[in-house]
């Protein structure tokens, strides 16, 4: 097992390419799969992207953000705006046999634009929030999330309160898996680099980090921007999967659901967070009959976790990486 571990950690880029190829192959066989299962997998993938990106902000950098759904909304509306308004004009100029390739590239571009818009929002949120700590930051990010939602509710050209309907169904399992793999790769690689140690330093003790010559402001902003970018991509994927988005679906309950995943998985534990995302997406599907008890269960879970196992359900590592320092 150790030799496998060594091999894998030695070639991160190869693993990345291999995972992307595997995603593509998976997509090829997906048409033979039960569409309900595909649906659930898509939801899992989107939650993984959201959770891993939030983990960068909350877990690795220690900035408690409760507004992640706002970034998701920006990405969803941004990507949809591209595919619905700019897309058709672009596709008209493309000859028939290139249509599929053109649609795919259009979607990729739309996702990136959605992600970038979200990243810009992340910058706008991160910059003023920097000097705030803990509780204040949580409330302010929650506030920003709500402000973003209310703004979208008032933009009539994007549907306003009625929501945006008729989004083209471009999301398929390949895109979801591919973006999930890329997101995980980026987050994990950044944090494990020399530069990335700074995130952990900012989390553990900001004043000490500053005294050591790091710029905590810069790290926090980077965390927000990168985290928001992927949240935006997740939003774009979500929009082109549900085909109809509505500001109500991006409220702070949504943010809290993502936060629960991150906490369950262990703040700063990417593998744990992915496992938690899978678990918490599957659980409601299996327990549909008990759905009304779901949120009660989640909330009790949060309380019990904090009291007994603050490092999360999946904290395997023996080396104590204190996400929550006593």
């Amino acid at each position: 097992m150790n030799r496998v571990k060594e091999a894998v950690s030695a070639w991160p880029k190869t693993i990345l390419i291999a995972s992307l190829v595997a995603s593509f192959l998976f997509w090829l066989v997906s048409s033979r799969m039960d569409p309900y299962y595909l649906d659930v997998l898509t939801k899992i993938g989107i939650n993984v992207i959201l959770a891993v990106s939030l983990n960068l902000i909350n877990g690795y950098t220690g900035q408690f953000s409760l507004g992640h759904a706002g970034f998701m909304a920006v990405g969803a509306y941004g990507a949809a705006a591209v595919t619905m308004f700019a897309g058709p004009k672009f596709l008209l100029h493309v000859p028939a046999n290139f249509q599929t390739a053109a649609t795919d590239s259009l979607f990729a571009v739309a996702l990136v634009i959605g992600g970038s818009a979200a990243a810009a929002a992340g910058f706008l949120v991160g910059a003023p929030s920097l000097r705030l700590k803990g509780d204040y930051l949580a409330i302010v990010t929650l506030g920003f999330g709500e402000i973003i939602r209310v703004i979208f509710r008032n933009i009539d050209s994007l549907g306003g309160a009625l929501g945006l309907n008729g989004i083209p169904p471009y999301t398929n399992i390949f895109w979801v898996l591919a973006v999930a793999v890329i997101c995980t790769y980026v987050v994990v690689t950044i944090v494990h680099s020399t530069y990335g140690r700074g995130f952990l330093a900012v989390r553990d003790d900001e004043v000490a980090a500053e005294a050591m010559g790091l710029n905590p402001t810069r790290y926090k902003i980077v965390a927000f921007v990168v985290g928001a970018f992927f949240a935006g991509m997740a939003g774009g994927l979500y929009g082109h999967y549900t085909l109809s988005i509505d500001p109500k679906g991006f409220d702070f309950m949504r943010s809290i659901e993502i936060v629960v995943i991150v906490i369950l998985g262990g703040m700063g534990n990417t593998a744990g967070v992915i496992a938690a995302a899978v678990l918490l997406t599957l659980l409601p599907e299996f327990l549909r009959t008990f759905d009304q008890y779901r949120m009660v269960f989640y909330s009790l879970l949060l309380i019990v976790l904090m009291l007994t196992r603050p490092r999360g359900l999946f904290a395997w590592k023996r080396r104590a990486k204190p996400a929550l320092r006593a």
Binding site: R131, I139, L300, L302, M306, L307
Partner: protein
């Protein structure tokens, strides 16, 4: 002019309820330096207490109404103390983040358990107090329930100020808010003081819940979320940790919200409250009446 005055009355009535809620947030923050997310749900429980107790008491009676309010305040005070004991005390002294997450957990739990127990559909709140509408010559309308908000809030506010400034427990509260360790060194039982603070704050929330429900008689388990957040903004606006500040912040926020609601921008009302929060935190983080505290390393 009449419209302006009417909106003023509406805004003050809303603002006083926010003030009551904000007091709870500010007291807990002053002593423990953490935001009690579950406070908004104690508010909700208070309203539901009023609903259930109101059934056994004759409607439209002053005595009955006061009795219901007192009982609800008592129940919520106990609830607040229990929450503190079970969920927050074990984490005291630890990371702030853990307590914050626990507070969110408690809040979610109260909301969702409330949904299971009470049902998610809105319930009609009984008319506890005799209600009349008063009209001035100029056409201004004010309802007795709105007047009740003013009176009860003022009474509770003065009561609170008296407790904090003139009693031993109040002095102990202030001492703990300055420095925990020093307070315990001079013989103050921190645990007791903190429990008392939670109890007091929760009782105020319950009163706020009943007053709110009297004026907007449709209650549901999620009714506390938005008022709670806005009350928190009000507390920050006035200067968190500062009691008169919380009252001032509440009133101001109620007025701002009402005037925005009556304007073209009524669909942005929720966002305005958060906008105010962000502006205050950027420009004057200590709030209107607060003092800026340097973070000691």
């Amino acid at each position: 002019m009449i419209v302006f005055l009417q909106q003023l009355i509406n805004g003050l009535s809303l603002g006083f309820v926010y003030a009551l809620l904000a007091l709870g947030y500010t007291m807990v923050y002053g002593i423990l330096r953490f935001i009690n997310f579950a406070h908004s749900d104690v508010f909700m429980v208070g309203a539901f207490c009023g609903y259930y107790f109101g059934r056994v008491v004759p409607q439209h009676s002053l005595g009955g109404g006061l009795l219901v309010m007192a009982m609800a305040m008592l129940v919520c005070a106990v609830l607040g103390i229990i929450i503190e004991r079970l969920a927050y005390r074990p984490l005291r002294g630890g990371s702030n983040l853990a307590v914050l997450i626990t507070a969110i957990g408690v809040s979610l739990f109260l909301e969702n358990a409330g949904q299971l127990v009470f049902g998610a559909d809105p319930k009609p709140f009984p008319a506890l107090f005799p209600s009349r509408n008063f009209t001035t010559e100029a056409g201004l309308r004010i309802s007795s329930n709105q007047l009740l908000v003013f009176i009860v809030t003022a009474v509770l506010l003065f009561g609170l100020q008296w407790i904090v400034m003139k009693t031993r427990m109040g002095t102990a509260m202030r001492a703990v808010s300055f420095n925990h360790q020093a307070a315990s060194l001079v013989g103050i039982n921190n645990d007791r003081v903190i429990s008392f603070t939670f109890g007091l704050g929760s009782a105020l929330a319950a009163a706020g819940g009943i007053l709110y429900a009297l004026n907007y008689p449709s209650i549901d388990p999620y009714m506390g979320i938005l008022p709670g957040l806005k009350a928190f903004v009000a507390a920050v606006l006035g200067g968190i940790g500062n009691i008169p500040g919380a009252a001032l912040g509440g009133i101001l926020l109620g007025l701002i919200e009402t005037f925005v609601n009556g304007s073209r921008f009524s669909t942005y009302t929720d966002a305005i409250a958060f906008g105010v929060l962000i502006v205050i935190l950027l420009c004057r983080p200590a709030g209107l009446l607060g003092k800026f505290q340097v973070e000691k390393v």
